[in-house]
């Protein structure tokens, strides 16, 4: 076995107090720890120690953490990443609060990805014995868990090859220029049974387009939209549906301008999932299926 899921997203925020209000009160994440200029959160349905790390100072992505199922996967990925030509270093237990030994890989796109196997177990809010379907007192959106991240990269085909060869991810959907010109300008990849655990679109290296929280239903997405209005959260697009992934969505911005998404739905993927292709002339429909319009922000706002 190999990579199981996106385990954590570590982002920079310009003002920690404002960010805490957003991720705590608006998104309803649970603060589990803080350490210096960092705060650690988890969703109510996540059992590992944390899934979101906020670090004060600047904006944008610090790193993504992916959790593997066996400690031997670390050796395997280290060999493959080195062979691929990526920069790989070992990270030690304690480099990240509560996270064990692992790998820190710098992608060809300059993004940092950490691979780990151990992290402290905290349990979900509903427990493991005769659990209720959701915790009785949720705040704001009440996001149960994180889902995926979308990053921008100068060479999507190269980063796609990295995730395929080194991480054993599969492509669920791909955007190419045209049938005549199969240059990849976007790729959505999965390791678990969802439409995507990582995605990238062509753009500057090292940047974050968004990271997403999974919600249970379309009505939860609408409920999240109501909360965004109550808390005056700037909404980028939505509620609407994506053509790519078929998911239902709202894009919005955290108080530092990092784009977040609430996401639900989408199909199931299996190791034999046949990849779907979109051509660039249909990109707007692929991204926002209902309006079939891309706003300028979608491609220009990155952190």
């Amino acid at each position: 076995m190999s990579v199981m899921r996106l385990g954590y997203v570590h982002v920079r925020v310009t003002d920690l107090e404002e960010a805490k209000s957003h991720y705590g009160n608006t998104m309803g994440l649970l603060e589990v720890a803080n350490e210096g200029n960092k705060v650690f959160y988890k969703g109510w349905d996540e059992y590992d120690h944390h899934s979101v790390v906020l670090e004060e100072g600047g904006v944008g992505l610090v790193k993504l953490g992916y959790k593997v199922s066996e400690s031997s996967d670390l050796d395997d990925i280290e060999i493959k990443a080195t062979r691929f030509g990526a920069t790989v270093e070992r990270m030690a237990k304690g480099d990240n609060l509560s996270v064990g030994d692992g790998l820190r890989i710098t992608l060809p796109s300059d993004h940092v990805v950490e691979i780990y196997h151990e992290i402290e177990y905290l349990g979900t809010e509903t427990g493991r014995i005769n659990p209720d379907p959701w915790p009785r007192f949720r705040r704001g959106v009440g996001a149960p868990r994180i889902d995926h991240a979308l990053i921008t990269v100068e060479e999507p085909a190269l980063v796609e090859r990295f995730f395929a060869d080194v991480m054993s991810f599969m492509v669920s959907e791909r955007v190419i220029v045209s049938n005549e010109n199969p240059e990849v300008i976007g790729s959505w990849m999965y390791c678990a049974g969802t439409p995507h655990d990582i995605a990238f679109i062509k753009g500057p290296n090292g940047k974050l387009h968004h990271f997403a929280f999974a919600l249970e239903s379309w009505s939860d997405v609408l409920h999240a939209g109501d909360i965004f209005a109550m808390d005056d959260v700037p909404v980028d697009v939505g509620p609407t549906r994506h053509g790519i992934t078929r998911g239902q969505t709202i894009y919005y911005f955290d108080p530092s301008g990092n784009r977040n998404e609430v996401f639900t739905g989408g199909y199931l993927t299996f190791p034999d999932f046949p990849s779907i292709t979109w051509t660039a002339d249909q990109l707007a429909k692929g991204i926002f299926y209902i309006s079939r319009e891309l706003n300028e922000r979608f491609t220009s706002v990155l952190t």
């Binding site: 920079r12 310009t14 003002d15 404002e18 100072g57 600047g58 904006v59 944008g60 700037p234 980028d236 911005f253 955290d254 108080p255 530092s256 301008g257 990092n258 784009r259 300028e296 922000r297 220009s300 706002v301 990155l302 952190t303």
Partner: protein
């Protein structure tokens, strides 16, 4: 109250004490290119031709560098006018969004 003038547009709006340039123009029904409206993306930068602004919230050096600030660039979603200001949009025209509803 301070006045926000938009150069080359014959538009002038009043900004409240706590309002940013972008908030004041939006409240009056105007639109131009903006992004996250939270100081993170830099899409709403304008040139400050006259007057002074300040920033009540932290603005990352990654988004607006000291050189840009000194060179008269303002991040309009975070910049509050301190006295009357004149700004210039970058390669675009101001849009009046409310149309017939506008007074």
């Amino acid at each position: 109250m301070c006045k926000v003038r938009v150069d080359a547009e014959d538009v002038e709006v009043e900004a409240g004490l706590e309002e940013t340039i972008l908030e004041a123009l939006r409240r009056c029904g105007y639109a131009y290119r903006w992004g996250c409206r939270r100081g993170g993306c830099g899409v709403c930068k304008v040139d400050l031709l006259q007057g002074e602004v300040d920033y009540r919230r932290n603005v990352s050096e990654l988004v607006l560098s000291a050189t840009e600030r000194d060179g008269g660039v303002a991040l309009s979603c975070r910049a509050r006018p301190r006295g009357d200001v004149t700004i210039r949009l970058r390669d675009e025209r101001l849009k009046k969004c409310y149309g017939i509803l506008a007074t």
